[in-house]
Assembly symmetry: C2
Homo-oligomer: 388 residues x 2
């Protein structure tokens, strides 16, 4: 019995091999430091939990409208007003089952079979799989340190064809943690607009930025699509809740897709998220953001000092995408050996694309500072051996 | 700004017009009886709520594996053993974001662009939209009372082409509430198997059957795909949790699709669902099933007595699909007028397909008996006027 070509075309995540190996070592009693996981180590903030418990208690956990609870859409609109000074009507917001749901809706409403979507490589691997799942064509644009691993207007121009219908920017990026420049986002939006295409901006790590304060793409143009999430900044990963902001003209199509594909986002998560924008939650999140910054500010110079190359300082998310080519010709082998020898798990570059992946590894600073310190000590032992 | 043809191809639900009209009337102070909604009126059972609260309380609401919590997959496997006497390894079960997620995975892993899938018409409208979302071709097979609104082996033979890669049966069916015969399911499974295609059986209403006890399709063949849900029978609609049982050979493709499309099903719902198979929950669900049966046993003869035609007794779900052609040439107009004149909201046949939809309306008995009694009194007033 065979899977569809659609399913066979999805590359497995190499990090799964690393994870399986890490679990096997743990089963043997080894202590493994997990820096491969793209999930913060913090619990869901207390006010959000309380809101969830209160909503669930009575058992009235029924379907909501397909685009989400009206009051949650209003809260998200207010968030854009407060945080970015952007007026966004709630009617342009769709609450979704995670940013994953938002990306599927965004690509589904914009792309037909054969249409092309430009995206940076390295990038989040699911993005290209969302495109090929619906028979659209993900066009991977190689990016490097010279553009802070982000698309730029000249790169978009260079890869544009008559089939290009969308451009996807993720800022901050997974795996690189780097930001797109506001003016590049604005110019790429204008470029798309002039050619009847659409810019999609993934802002799910926007709340986790440690230098500067990037503007939302929604401030630059009315015809962009923005994807966001309660997972990373609001520490609600397991709840599976995100959102999409889109031009008015796309909302009917988005609603019909959402009705048919999902029925509605999960109700407990939506009631929980009503507390995500409160002052109390904000204080908790701000403290955690500073903790994340402290981790970055420790790990980044430590890795550089060990000999990893990170020419661009990552301003956000919780990832460091490091060139490890000084230590090994193949970063996957490097990851395997580092795990085996000193018990530190990281993700090989192969999971993020085709642009020199054998040189790169991704560190996720999703562990507390003392653990990161121990990790650096172990890595020092390992690479001093590797260089010998 | 235009939506993709993909999005434009999705017909709006006509019931949304009915709902909007009902809300407008309610805003004017009218009392509306809602029999249009495909959602049970019961709360989530207490043991399930308790399990959710306990899991949430500590805030440890992180991602689970893409195919779901291992212990929940084991519980579902045990459910097949206990309820159906079928041995199904947990490795063949994927926990999904609702049956919607299960259907998207099932079609995604089986169908490529241009592949055909046969399905009964009338049927659940999202099914054909799932297929066209991924550029596959839903082939709607007209069914009527003579086959209890279900596919039969001869019907499948008649509509089979060299592009047919899957057949979808929903038993009990939405909107008709009728069951496929066990032997037809078995024979269609064999027919698919012989032709390198796959039978998908939607069993989400299997727990709500009032006569006989249908066997799961998994008992007939190892190479069928079964979709089920915690929404309807377990009264967990808003939680968005379902599952998929599939042949071993498809599980790797399903896992990769699930990782990329969803990351994981919602965690609170999964912990909640761990209590769905307990003896305590079972007693609650059994009482509710009997209450549903009592509603059907009241509403079905009442509608027949009023002059609606229901030649096949619906054995399950909570729907009655009634021929109203004695009262009106266009069932949509009939629904609108009945709502306006006596305040009873039902769903027009148009939402379920192309097979004489203008003759049919769907009643959902998702209200308590006294409300159904009031509804029948109102409908009696209305149709006695219509017939004059």
């Amino acid at each position: 019995m065979n899977s569809s070509r659609r399913a066979q075309g999805i590359a497995p995540f190499h990090v799964m091999d690393i994870l399986a190996r890490a679990k096997a070592l743990e089963a043997q009693g080894r202590d493994i430091i997990h820096l491969e996981v793209g999930e913060p180590d913090f619990s869901t903030p207390e006010p959000i939990l309380k809101a969830a418990m209160q909503a669930i208690r009575g058992g009235d956990v029924h379907y909501t409208p397909a685009l989400g609870l009206p009051e949650l859409r209003e809260e998200i609109a207010a968030f854009y007003r407060t945080r970015y000074g952007v007026e966004l009507p709630a009617a342009r917001i769709a609450v979704t089952p995670g940013a994953s749901g938002a990306l599927l809706l965004a690509l589904g409403v914009l792309l037909d079979a054969g249409d092309e979507i430009l995206m940076a490589d390295p990038g989040y691997p699911c993005n290209r799989h969302f495109a090929s799942f619906i028979d659209a064509v993900p066009v991977r644009v190689p990016v490097g340190a010279e553009s802070a691993f982000q698309l730029t207007p000249p790169l978009v121009e260079r890869y544009w064809t008559e089939k290009t219908k969308a451009v996807l920017i993720a800022s901050p990026s997974n795996p690189t943690g780097t930001l797109a420049r506001d003016e590049d986002v604005r110019d790429i939006a204008a470029l798309c607009s002039a050619r009847c295409a659409t810019l999609i901006v993934d802002e799910i790590y926007h709340g986790l930025v440690y230098e500067g304060s990037p503007q939302t793409a929604l401030a630059h143009a009315d015809d962009v699509v923005v994807v966001n999430s309660f997972s990373k900044h609001f520490h609600m990963t397991g709840w599976r809740l995100g959102w999409l902001a889109a031009p008015v003209g796309l909302m009917e199509g988005i609603e019909r897709l959402a009705q048919n594909l999902f029925l509605a986002p999960p109700t407990p998560a939506q009631f929980a998220a009503l507390a995500a924008f409160s002052q109390e939650t904000h204080s908790i999140l701000e403290a955690r953001r500073l903790e994340m910054k402290a981790r970055r500010d420790f790990l980044l110079p430590a890795l550089r000092e060990l000999g990893f190359s990170l020419p661009v300082t990552p301003q956000g998310a919780f990832y460091l995408y490091a060139d490890a080519s000084r230590f090994a010709a193949d970063s996957f082998v490097f990851c395997e050996q580092m795990l085996d020898e000193v018990g530190v798990a990281i993700t090989p570059g192969e999971d993020f694309g085709e642009t020199a992946p054998e040189r790169y590894v991704r560190f996720a600073y999703t562990r507390p500072l003392p653990v990161l310190q121990e990790a650096v000590a172990r890595i020092r032992n390992f690479v001093s051996g590797s260089q010998a």
